[in-house]
């Protein structure tokens, strides 16, 4: 019984009309990644982010605890940047910080050898064994725009878009090439590449800049993944209201949407777009189970059938387990009226 695989593949294969007719059970994935999983398993974040055995163990622990429909191997946003030459610091129990951007020393990394990229690949392999291939293992891959911003330094990079676009293009080129290699390696390890591009947010850059700098790289990366025979997803943090059509133009099958109006998202993207989202992470962390249930029900009612009910961004480590449980139960108990 590969129920979890089916919940995802039928979203990919069938039309909205068919899914409604079949009254399918919604898929659900609270985006529990390394930081939250480490907290739930009582492990220090530093060890989890640097050790494939431990990273896979804590992700497997959360998966078994809650029983959701996808697993995402995501350590932190700086995995690829570090491998490409950025200096970072990994505190004992906080997310890593960028100390020195790679700048002119940035180079394409070897996914099998460079810094922690092999940790991600090994964790994907290990999770496939641990879960006996009953669930898709997503391998998180930074979007080229975000990766380029870490390589150049975030503020420097954003200023380059205006002052020296050709220099921004240089970093984007490097980042895109690197991510094509990494996507291939993730697929070889048995994972599904899932792109996260937090810096390409509509909260930070204009629609014009997204279209000019972020989108072409995303399209290239998605095309590479498609050429390798797989589907993919794209998550962009923050306000994406004005760029929803451009996210769809990336070609990614699944669009993971942060905390904006789901009604607007569904209207703009149409009934056939698979959407992942978007119960507020602040609500998950600070709200009551009843509030989470009500938000999740609203989300389901608005965006089904082509929806993976999910958190709006990754689940904060301080989130009470009962709230994560509620998100899943709300999907499992969903009744089509």
């Amino acid at each position: 019984m590969k129920t979890k695989l089916t919940r995802i593949t039928r979203l990919l294969d069938r039309s909205a009309a068919e899914l409604i007719k079949q009254q399918i059970e919604p898929a659900v994935f609270p985006i529990v990644v390394a930081n939250c999983a480490a907290r739930l398993a009582g492990e220090k974040l530093y060890r989890v982010l640097t050790d494939a055995e431990l990273l896979s163990a804590v992700l497997d622990h959360s998966y078994r605890l809650f029983d959701y429909d996808l697993v995402m191997v995501f350590a932190d946003v700086l995995v690829e940047a570090e491998a490409m030459g950025c200096q970072i610091d990994i505190p004992e129990d906080e997310p890593p910080v960028l100390l020195t951007p790679a700048g002119n020393h940035a180079r394409i990394a070897d996914p099998q050898r460079s810094e922690r990229m092999p940790v991600i690949l090994a964790a994907i392999c290990k999770l496939r064994q641990l879960t006996a291939d009953e669930v898709f293992i997503l391998g998180s891959l930074k979007g080229p725009f975000s990766l380029a911003s870490f390589l150049a330094g975030p503020e420097e990079f954003l200023a380059l878009l205006v002052e020296a676009p050709e220099q921004a293009d240089h970093f984007l080129r490097l980042a895109t090439e690197n991510q094509k290699h990494f996507a291939r390696a993730i697929i070889q390890a048995g994972g599904i590449p899932f792109i996260g591009d937090p810096m390409a947010s509509g909260s930070l850059i204009s629609r014009e800049h997204f279209a000019r700098f972020a989108l072409p790289c995303l399209r290239e990366l998605v095309a590479e993944i498609h050429a390798l025979g797989l589907w993919t997803g794209l998550h962009i943090c923050g306000d994406t209201t004005t760029i929803l059509d451009l996210l769809a133009a990336s070609g990614a099958e699944i669009l993971s949407i942060d905390d904006i109006s789901m009604e607007l998202v569904r209207n703009r993207l149409g009934p056939e777009q698979i959407i992942m989202g978007n119960v507020s992470t602040t609500l998950l962390a600070d709200g009551t189970p009843a509030e989470v249930q009500s938000a999740a029900e609203k989300c389901l009612a608005t965006a089904l059938p082509k929806l993976i009910l999910a958190s709006a961004c990754d689940v904060p480590p301080s989130t009470p387990p009962a709230n994560i449980q509620t998100l899943i139960q709300t999907a499992r108990r969903w009744q089509w009226s």
């Binding site: 906080e94 997310p95 910080v97 960028l98 975030p154 503020e155 954003l158 200023a159 878009l161 205006v162 002052e163 909260s203 930070l204 850059i205 204009s206 800049h209 923050g238 004005t242 992470t281 602040t282 962390a285 904060p316 480590p317 301080s318």
Partner: protein, 211 residues
């Protein structure tokens, strides 16, 4: 060109993020005998306020603000040595990203906007220890602004307020908080005086609280 034209063109050059033009116009302003503080206030700072307005209505985003700020600072470097010793300024404020958090783009934008509005800004930087905020208050700033991007570091804002109370300094300073995960409810809960969802409103809030 008459002085008004030069000042208008300075503001416009900042708005268009045209650094070289800003430099040229600053030189020209000084050569024509325009006072440096007038050039700063009615040229550069006015341009930056226009940038702030465009940012508030989402016509400009972070890259445009950063590029405009660089143009403004470049011009400011030329005017600096010609400024009168005690320029007429608004009060002094201190800004910082709380301990554990290094996401400082938002704080830097608030800094630029506050400077453009005439405040003297002490930039405490990012990953700022609690004691450093307290020391800034001891040094007599009228307000402190704290920001955080991560839910894990937000509680440090409350710790700074507690530390100010313990040091007997809470009544001497206005406390503002901001950052992506912060909202008004949280600000009220921890006993902050003000909250703003973005840089434009942050400056309005500083003005409301300090004047």
């Amino acid at each position: 060109m008459n002085p008004t034209d030069i000042l208008d063109r300075m503001a416009d050059a900042v708005l268009r993020m045209a650094k070289d033009e800003v430099l040229q116009l600053c030189e020209q302003a000084l050569a024509q005998g325009i006072a440096a503080d007038i050039a700063l206030e009615q040229g550069l700072a006015r341009g930056m306020r226009l940038v702030g307005e465009k940012f508030a209505c989402q016509e400009y985003f972070v890259p445009e603000v950063l590029a405009a700020a660089k143009a403004m600072y470049a011009g400011f470097d030329i005017l600096r040595e010609h400024l009168p010793r005690t320029p007429a300024r608004r009060s002094r404020i201190a800004l910082g990203v709380v301990q554990g958090d290094i996401h400082d783009i938002g704080k830097n934008i608030v800094k630029v906007m506050a400077q453009a509005a005439g405040y003297e800004v002490i930039d405490l930087g990012r990953n700022v220890p609690i004691e450093q905020f307290v020391n800034a208050v001891r040094d007599g700033v009228a307000a402190i602004g704290m920001s955080a991007l991560m839910t894990t570091t937000m509680p440090n804002m409350a710790k700074v307020i507690e530390a100010l109370k313990r040091a007997g300094l809470r009544d001497q300073v206005k406390v503002l908080v901001g950052g992506a995960p912060v909202n008004r409810l949280f600000a009220e809960k921890i006993g902050a005086d003000g909250y703003a969802p973005d840089a434009h409103n942050a400056v309005r809030e500083i003005r409301r609280l300090t004047e």
